[in-house]
């Protein structure tokens, strides 16, 4: 029932490796317990992203190379991957739970008629079974899922849950994967425009000022932005604020937004619903401001200020001068 390899699908985004793939290579190595970790990449001829992948020390990098992967559709990708998997059934395949990962993985799953668990927060082996830890009913309930009878075991894993670690002690073997590119003209990618997230790149921010429904006013948004600037950080929001003119979905922190890991997080007017808090578990120092002393957000805070968000912002700005 499959060999003893863990394959990590390396996703390409705007001609770069999508960072989740590196995180998953590190995670796969940590849980491998003797299994071989193979990074699988489908890339155009000249891109040579294997030099980036090497840094993270998978045992092997297997490359599907074809110029047509530039702008390939989900059907073509799933078809190519299927050919490689069929030839050499791995024990598990791990995809990033990005939009692309979540689109291609289920098509591959259907071809293989195996199980696929979406958006895992953790994975580990119990014997030969990969235990797939997944939230359900919005992160309020966790469940463990296994796929006992079929291989490969397939999962998509949420971005930024695991840390990517450079490992130069291993010199990965680089191999070409055998497959044939089958063009599928039923869907054509006509254009792809990168979206500029530089103004709101929360993922890597060291300081985050997070605004919630209780702190929203035009004035507070302005004050929060000033404070963020002073502390060299970014402003993020809870979900209700993504409906406000100043913010979009890319500013959202939480289960259906971005997972963040700042050194300092200041929560303003945020109650602390689990869908929000799962996104901030990795924050180091947490200060929360809320008018309600019993708000759940205080349970995960180092400092609490019971009072008005606006007053707190002004006091911070005043005293930082």
């Amino acid at each position: 029932m499959g060999n003893q390899e863990i394959w990590v699908y390396v996703e390409i985004n705007n001609l770069m490796v999508e960072p989740t793939s590196f995180q998953l290579i590190t995670k796969a190595k940590q849980i491998a317990n003797g299994r071989k970790v193979v990074a699988l990449i489908a890339e155009p001829k000249m891109s040579h992203l294997e030099s980036d992948i090497k840094e993270y020390g998978p045992d092997e990098i297997r490359i599907l190379r074809d110029e047509r992967f530039r702008g390939a559709n989900d059907e073509e990708l799933a078809d190519a991957l299927f050919q490689v998997v069929k030839r050499n059934t791995p024990n598990a395949i791990i995809f990033p739970a990005t939009v692309r990962g979540r689109s291609v993985a289920p098509r591959l799953q259907a071809k293989l008629q195996t199980g696929l668990t979406a958006d895992c927060l953790d994975i580990y082996y119990d014997g030969d079974n990969l235990v797939q830890v997944k939230p359900t009913y919005g992160d309020g309930v966790m469940c463990n899922i296994i796929c006992p009878d079929k291989r490969p075991q397939m999962v998509t894993v949420r971005p930024n849950i695991f840390e990517a670690k450079v490992d130069r002690t291993i010199k990965p073997k680089i191999q070409a994967a055998e497959f044939e590119f089958h063009e599928d003209a039923r869907s054509e990618v006509e254009a792809e425009e990168p979206v500029d997230h530089t103004s709101t790149d929360l993922t890597n921010a060291k300081v985050i000022i997070a605004l919630g429904r209780g702190a929203y006013s035009e004035k507070n948004v302005e004050l929060a932005r000033q404070l963020a600037e002073k502390l060299g950080g970014k402003v993020g929001v809870s979900r209700p604020l993504t409906d406000k003119p100043e913010f979009t979905h890319s500013d959202q922190i939480g289960q259906s937004g971005t997972t963040v890991s700042p050194d300092l997080l200041i929560n303003l007017g945020i109650s602390g619903a689990v869908q929000y808090t799962v996104g901030v578990e990795k924050a180091k120092k947490v200060i929360s401001v809320n008018t309600n002393r019993d708000a759940p957000i205080f349970d995960l805070s180092d400092y609490g200020y019971v009072g008005d968000a606006g007053a707190f912002l002004e006091a911070m700005l005043g005293n930082l001068e």
């Binding site: 985004n13 705007n14 999508e18 989900d74 059907e75 990005t98 939009v99 692309r100 979540r102 289920p106 098509r107 799953q109 259907a110 008629q113 195996t114 199980g115 696929l116 979406a118 958006d119 939230p135 359900t136 009913y137 919005g138 309020g140 309930v141 966790m142 469940c143 463990n144 899922i145 006992p148 009878d149 039923r186 869907s187 990618v189 006509e190 254009a191 792809e192 425009e193 990168p194 979206v195 502390l231 300092l264 799962v278 578990e281 120092k285 200060i287 205080f298 349970d299 995960l300 805070s301 180092d302 400092y303 609490g304 200020y305 019971v306 707190f312 911070m316 005043g318 005293n319 930082l320």
Partner: protein, 258 residues
């Protein structure tokens, strides 16, 4: 244009929790509502119909109580609805759900477009749409933020891939999953609610669908849930600051060396 929209009923927001002592699932609040993303899928279908003519058909797999959600969709303006209901369908994972929906789609008769929500709020996988597309061997455009008619056989879809927006031209028949950003679902008007009760609602079971009994429900599912529990929350010892904002700010600035 013949359009099938797959919809699902889900528990209301935050109405399902785990009792931390017993680890039992506790449900509060209403029985269930239409999966919010599926409303966007129905809206997309209705707009396609307004432009191209045709019909909008709703399809759901689930218990008989799910007819409520179908009535909702009919009241939004869909033309007819199908419920695939049987004990045998219970416990299905995405693979078995998709297999059953595909059997329903084949019996309804091949559509031009099959629409899905980007994901369900309870299972939260977003997998059912792509599996259905693969099983039917049709192309897909997932996470759509815009769907435009190019011709009777071609649509143009914008996909939001998070770090980029992709424009795809897709030949029908095709499968599309939609994001909530795509539109504002219309409300059910009183007239449409009244009308919805006269619209055809068909219920099929596994015999009507002529499905392989090994591929439906729990039996047809490759994944097994081994444990359900409350997420472990790390709690910190919070230090409450002075009620005076100025003093609170000074304490933080000093202690954190800001």
């Amino acid at each position: 244009m013949k359009i099938i929209v797959c919809v699902k009923q889900v528990p209301e927001n935050d109405s399902v929790k785990i009792d931390p002592k017993t680890n039992d699932m506790v449900r509060t609040g209403a029985q269930g509502v239409m999966n919010p993303f599926d409303r966007n899928a129905i809206e997309t279908a209705l707009e396609l119909k307004e432009k191209n003519g045709g019909q909008v058909i709703l399809l759901i797999m689930g218990p008989d109580s799910f007819t409520e959600v179908l009535r909702d969709g009919l009241a939004m303006g869909a033309d007819s609805a199908y419920l695939l209901s049987s004990k045998e369908f219970g416990g299905a994972d995405t693979l078995a759900t998709a297999y059953t929906l595909v059997a329903g789609i084949k019996k309804i008769g091949k559509p031009d477009v099959i629409l899905f929500g980007r994901q369900s709020e309870d299972a939260d996988t977003g997998q059912v749409g792509p599996i259905v597309a693969e099983d039917l061997n049709i192309p897909q455009a997932t996470f759509a933020t815009k769907v435009e008619t190019i011709s009777a056989t071609t649509l143009e879809v914008d996909r939001d891939l998070e770090s980029s927006i992709q424009k795809v031209e897709i030949k029908l028949p095709a499968e599309i999953t939609v994001r909530s950003e795509i539109n504002f679902p219309r409300y059910e008007t009183p007239i449409n609610i009244v009308k919805s009760f006269d619209k055809p609602l068909t219920i099929w079971n596994e015999k009507d669908l002529n499905v392989d009994p090994d591929k439906i429900g729990k039996k047809g599912s490759q994944t097994i849930v081994t444990k359900v529990y409350a997420p472990k929350k790390e709690t910190k010892q919070v230090k409450f600051l002075s009620k005076k904002a100025g003093d609170a700010a000074k304490t933080i600035i000093n202690e954190l060396d800001l």
